[in-house]
């Protein structure tokens, strides 16, 4: 082999790239801008008549004003939004809303009752995912224009044909479907009779505290403060939400000061940044209920003693004190704490001896083998493993089947699973939203018109369903509360649900950020109160 001098060879290698050193960024966010790192890949539309994804609802909460509101200043009290609190007819069917004066859309056009009527009508006419929230009031494509009307430029009146408690109807009017869209702009951008749906997926036409600058899917949402907002201009001029999929990256960015808020740090990461003097961690109760669905088409799970035994074979406290610490607390009711009439209810604890006795009474002294479907993202697999371990102590051999959440959901909706680890979030701020799914199933056939969670688990409950319907209609708040309390106890003790946890959101802030609080649902996440020192 020929000898080549080292220098000659190195000369050839001189093209080795020098360490590319660009100009490092100045790690600080602009003073008038709130920069949030969050996983926002769930957003698929920002049209309030279509949007039903958590991040999308949060953004729309800030882009659009709503008929009624729970405001950032007191998220426990329902107040007027675009309209004042309505007057309700004696039979509870006709609701009349007087609009607050001098409100303007981002375009500068006045907010009128016609815009409000149009916004509610288009939810029904478009018939997208959130439409069920208002069609339950008896509104259909055929009748909605007659039932929802502007009777004067500042007066909106609607009639419901089904009986519901006025408080429930009013709560619906605080949800995303009551977002007021500017009719003129929506219709100016109409395509093939879509009432502006295609255009509003990526643009905004509201009167909320912020207007949309851009939504780049899986990248960012940028918003600019609207100076003419009903409650006065927002504290910060701009809000940018950056999609940062990897929590570890979010952590680095918030530590470095490239973002002001990190929303998705894991429990371990939160623990690690707790000592950082530039950061502050705040906990906010969420409204997601984590539960185990027990499909009663399985003979064993049909047996109430077996179901009770299973409820005693979950290490609720053990989990929230270890790997779920800070992220969840034990709540064994289908209503999240913070909702009207929700009880802090925890009748079950891990009790292997009692569970064994119940299994023996039910005819299964040696337990049995059963499958548990769980999604493969945290904390699903950890919870599933804990359940497997504790149930194993009583002889129940749990085979965990993990797959993507959508796959599990598909099987669960098709009633193909035996036990399913799932979570449920409410649709609006009223107990009926959860009662209607956990405690209603009047038709258990495969072709049922609606398929609530009770249906998915083959829990045929005509009597309980009737009580749920009555509670939704009850006008007296005290009586309504008592009815929901009774329902909660019944579902927890007898139902095919091992109700386990309610979630807590742990948010990491830079120290100079204040005033940004997360509500129990995304309808209560307001950016306008955020401040930077």
């Amino acid at each position: 082999m020929a000898k080549i001098s080292r220098r000659q060879a190195l000369a050839g290698a001189a093209a080795v790239p020098l360490a590319l050193q660009g100009q490092a960024a100045l790690a600080a966010t602009p003073k008038d801008t709130l920069v949030v790192a969050k996983q926002i890949d769930d957003i698929i539309t920002l049209d309030p008549a279509e949007c039903y994804e958590l991040s999308g609802i949060e953004v729309a909460t800030n882009l659009y004003d709503r008929l009624l509101r729970y405001e950032a200043e007191d998220v426990t009290k329902m107040v007027g939004g675009v309209a004042n609190m309505p007057s309700v007819s004696a039979d509870g069917k006709v609701f009349t809303f007087k609009l607050k004066p001098n409100q303007k859309f981002h375009s500068g056009a006045p907010v009128t009752a016609e815009d409000c009527a149009f916004s509610l009508q288009r939810v029904v006419l478009l018939d997208k995912t959130p439409a069920f929230l208002v069609t339950q009031l008896g509104w259909t494509k055929a009748n909605v224009k007659d039932l929802v009307k502007a009777t004067a430029p500042d007066t909106l009146q609607f009639t419901i044909t089904e009986s519901y408690a006025p408080s429930m109807v009013m709560n619906l009017m605080t949800s995303i479907i009551a977002s007021v869209v500017e009719k003129k702009i929506a219709l100016a951008n109409e395509k093939d009779g879509d009432l502006g749906n295609t255009w509003l997926k990526t643009n905004s036409a509201g009167s909320g505290a912020y207007k949309l600058i851009s939504w780049k899917a899986n990248e960012s949402v940028s918003m600019e403060a609207y100076p003419g907002f009903r409650m006065g201009p927002a504290n910060l001029k701009r809000v940018v939400i950056r999609h940062v999929a990897e929590p570890q990256t979010q952590r680095l960015m918030v530590e470095k000061g490239d973002v002001d808020v990190a929303r998705d740090l894991s429990a371990d990461q939160i623990k690690a940044v707790r000592g950082n003097k530039d950061l502050r961690i705040e906990d906010f109760a969420g409204a997601n209920t984590w539960y185990l669905g027990l499909n009663m088409s399985d003979e064993r799970l049909k047996n109430e003693k077996v179901r009770t035994a299973i409820k005693m074979l979950v290490d609720y406290d053990g989990m929230v004190n270890t790997f779920l610490k800070g992220q969840f607390f034990v709540q064994q009711s289908f209503l999240p704490v913070g909702f009207f009439s929700a009880m802090k209810y925890t009748p079950f604890k891990l009790d292997v001896a009692k569970a064994k006795a119940l299994l023996a009474e039910a005819g299964y002294p040696n337990g049995f083998t059963i499958k548990l479907a769980s999604n493969n993202s945290a904390p699903g697999p950890d919870i599933a493993q804990s359940i497997q371990q504790t149930m194993g102590q009583a002889g129940i051999k749990v085979e965990i089947v993990t797959s993507d959440r959508k796959t599990v959901l598909g099987d669960y909706r098709g009633r193909k699973t035996q036990m399913t680890l799932m979570s449920w979030g409410p649709d609006y701020f009223d107990p009926h939203t959860n009662a209607d799914t956990f405690a209603r199933n009047t038709d258990d056939s495969d072709g049922a018109a609606t398929k609530p969670l009770a249906w998915r688990n083959h829990w045929s409950i005509p009597e309980i369903s009737a009580q749920t319907a009555l509670a939704a209609k009850e006008l007296d708040a005290g009586k309504r509360k008592a009815m929901y309390e009774a329902l909660q106890k019944k579902v927890t003790l007898e139902g095919p649900f091992v109700l386990m946890f309610q979630n807590v959101s742990e948010v990491t802030f830079r120290k100079n950020v204040s005033g940004f609080k997360l509500g129990i649902t995304e309808d209560l996440n307001f950016y306008r109160t955020a401040k930077k020192a």
Binding site: I4, L20, T407, L409
Partner: protein, 347 residues
């Protein structure tokens, strides 16, 4: 006769190329379509969400044409694809083609810089290692290549971020540009480095480059490891050839023998390696793009898969296929440039 043959030969070549490209494309759409339909994810659920009523679910299922036989669905899909319609993405509400055109430049920018790093570093290192076979320089380069091969890229990305971004502050963090510079430069080419220069925004250019350095260095290192290994192995077989000894005996300098003659003979193989490397980089480095919140093709494909957004998945896969087809064709062209023997073929 001779003239006719001269015309017919290239035509035949072009014809066979078009047929092979067409067949590859057909196979690609068929496989991606079937995979998209048999995976146990419900595309209707992806659109309507968990809480939709039965009527809404059924309406959307019919809209998607999922009630039709698979063959019919494929035919409709193929007709649309040929007309450049990939449908609308559920995830972004935009036509898939628009999405692909907006995310691909981000990946192209990252991949190109990474490839430059990989090639400019990898080839000389490979040559150097081959020349010093068995010595410590060779061992070191082989060790470095092996390391590049074996280290998980997401881990390397996170460690890179921790060290160069969080601790040392040499480079900017995740994303393509700082929030303060967002939307400051109009998208002309989609390549932010070029767009910022076209707009005369120097500050944005430096910021973009600062965001680009770390992910492209990491991907570049992986490419470098591959290119260096392959170059070393090709060069070793060349350096064993008798003509090397002959040229040295004739008095040519060792430098010229190695860098001109020996390296000149491995270019054809290297072009294939480089094209494949570029292809895999252009597929979108899913994990790197995830770690660096880089809005490119890899992240787009990953998100669409997770969202069961089949139009986007199929569109993205077809794009990746087209990239490979184009790169293959380009490699064929480059072969004829670097290898005189290839020029003679077919004539």
């Amino acid at each position: 006769m001779t003239v006719a043959r001269r015309i017919a030969a290239p035509l035949r070549k072009i014809g066979s190329l078009l047929v092979s490209v067409g067949l590859t494309f057909l196979g690609l759409t068929c496989v991606t379509f079937v995979i998209g339909r048999v995976i146990p994810i419900d595309p209707v659920l992806a659109i309507v969400g968990d809480k939709a009523s039965n009527e809404t679910y059924e309406r959307v299922r019919l809209q998607l044409g999922l009630d039709q036989p698979l063959l019919e669905q494929y035919w409709h899909y193929l007709v649309k694809v040929v007309h450049g319609e990939f449908g609308t993405s559920v995830m972004t509400a935009h036509p898939v083609l628009d999405d692909l055109l907006s995310v691909f430049p981000a990946t192209l920018e990252l991949a190109t810089l990474s490839l430059v790093i990989g090639v400019v570093g990898g080839i000389p290192l490979g040559v150097y290692a081959a020349v010093n076979r068995g010595r410590w320089q060779d061992q070191l380069i082989r060790f470095m290549s092996l390391l590049g091969y074996s280290m998980p890229v997401f881990w390397l990305g996170l460690i890179g971020l921790l060290l160069f971004y969080a601790k040392l502050g040499w480079v900017a963090g995740p994303g393509r540009v700082d929030v303060g510079f967002d939307d400051m430069v109009p998208a002309v080419t989609g390549l932010m480095t070029i767009d910022s220069l076209l707009a005369g925004e120097d500050e944005v250019f430096w910021n973009v480059l600062s965001h680009l350095v770390l992910p492209s260095s990491i991907l570049g290192y992986l490419s470098l490891a591959y290119v260096a290994r392959m170059t070393r192995s090709f060069m070793l077989s060349q350096l064993k050839q008798e003509y090397i000894l002959a040229t040295l005996a004739k008095g040519l300098s060792p430098f010229r023998v190695v860098w001109i003659h020996a390296l000149g003979n491995v270019w054809v193989q290297l072009v294939t390696v480089i094209a494949l490397t570029f292809g895999s980089l252009l597929e979108g480095a899913v994990l790197t793009e995830t770690v660096f919140a880089w809005p490119g093709l890899g992240l787009y494909l990953k998100n669409s898969l997770f969202a069961a957004d089949l139009n986007a998945v199929l569109g993205g896969t077809v794009l990746v296929g087209v990239v490979y087809i184009v790169l293959n064709m380009l490699s064929d062209v480059v072969y004829t440039l670097v290898d005189p023997r290839a020029r003679g073929q077919g004539t």
